[in-house]
Symmetry: C2
Subunit: 252 residues, 2 copies
């Protein structure tokens, strides 16, 4: 089992449209997978509406106990985009116009009707912030130390993550192997538990499925220690085979 430091992040998803069920969130999975690649573990997620007090509370609690905090949503030009103001309030800093963001917006909107008051809102940042550029829209994301404010539209958030790749310090990535098996998970529960216990530093998750009228489960072995992962997964694979169970989709 590795003794390396574990880096953690929290994600705060901001938007009434998620809580109303109108919009299916896609940022949780996207941010989670990107963080894994950086060697950072997504430790917790919250979803709150477009309400200042809810954002302030979440930002204060989540940033106090994680190395990083990412937010998605609420950085656009309209009145319901209140993330920048709420986060400045949470941090006790003023909101200022970022000169480079203003320039980027002028360049982008020059041929598109020009900069108006609403568009200029997207140059507002908590004092001390730097920008997270993206290729798709004129409006940048915002970085303030360990805090990252990104767009809510998933493909724009994805571009912002892309531009942050390799820029955020992490540790040893969590790696995983998935072993699919045609068995009800309840028939091998004891085996899973024992195998996990005999390989310190590993975790086994069990995720049932129904496919082609048959019951099966994916067993996902996770660890930051590649050798421990391999030992655990190999033993589980052998044990399932020894019981005559049909293994599928094993990532070897």
């Amino acid at each position: 089992m590795t003794q390396d430091r574990i880096w953690t992040a929290a994600l705060l998803v901001i938007g009434d449209e998620i809580l109303s069920g109108r919009t299916q969130d896609k940022n949780i999975a996207q941010v989670a997978r990107w963080l894994n690649l950086q060697g950072i573990r997504l430790a917790e997620v919250r979803v709150v509406g477009d309400r200042t007090e809810a954002i302030v509370e979440a930002v204060q609690q989540l940033s106090a106990r994680n190395d990083y905090l990412f937010t998605t949503g609420g950085i656009g030009p309209t009145h319901d985009d209140i993330t920048v103001d709420a986060i400045a309030e949470a941090l006790g800093v003023p909101v200022v116009i970022h000169p480079r963001a203003r320039q980027m917006l002028e360049d982008y909107y020059g041929p598109r009707g020009g900069l108006n008051e609403a568009r200029l809102r997207m140059a507002r940042v908590p004092e001390g912030a730097s920008l997270i550029e993206n290729r798709l829209s004129g409006a940048p994301g915002i970085r303030l130390g360990s805090l990252f404010l990104m767009a809510g539209v998933p493909h724009i958030a994805g571009e912002m993550l892309e531009s942050l790749s390799g820029q955020v310090e992490g540790g040893v990535p969590m790696v995983s192997r998935t072993i699919g098996c045609w068995t009800p998970e309840s028939e091998v529960a004891e085996l899973l538990s024992q195998t996990e216990a005999s390989h310190p530093g590993t975790q086994i998750g069990s995720y049932p499925f129904f496919r082609d009228g048959r019951v099966g489960a994916n067993f996902v072995v996770r660890s930051t220690d590649i050798a421990a992962l391999a030992g655990c997964a190999d033993e589980l694979l052998a044990a399932l085979g020894a019981r005559g169970l049909e293994v599928i989709d094993a990532e070897l």
Copy 2:
């Protein structure tokens, strides 16, 4: 603006597979939409891993400030299913075998290899709980007053919601109308803000999109007051038309 009481719920999504990005959550949107139909507002969501202390903290905080708390995930037969134990700990009650749940599992697993220790785990409930039956699996969900424990697999959680329909007291539902328009939201931001402000009890959310190479936005007007909703949406529609903007997808 209606003065009716607003009923709120929180959702706690439990599972390492969501935080690792392996599984795209579908329960947030599903629970949100179902709650709307019951006249209950989804006020906040948290996602935590399969860790007792994280579940205990979230349950205590979320149930203290919402009328209802729903959870998804962690009620299956394997060692990583710890929701029942964590919630019993949060509430300070013991875990007991529910006789009816045991009977249901015996009936279900009778022709499927019989009840074993792992399967019997799914009859364990916090003391005082009743069951949320579902047609798809032998394992029921669990209700304990204002707390609802459901499966993580979306279609099973959906069946559990189905069987709860009309069983959970709510208030006046939030209703909405969506007005799509071929305009950058930043060109009508002031109009949105003014229209919302002149119709108390309404909210207007703005959600940009890119489609067929063109920029547009959906403006979602929400209210619990049908008359206020209609007044606000009609005025917005007329104002967009008066500017010569092309309105699409208006739900009238």
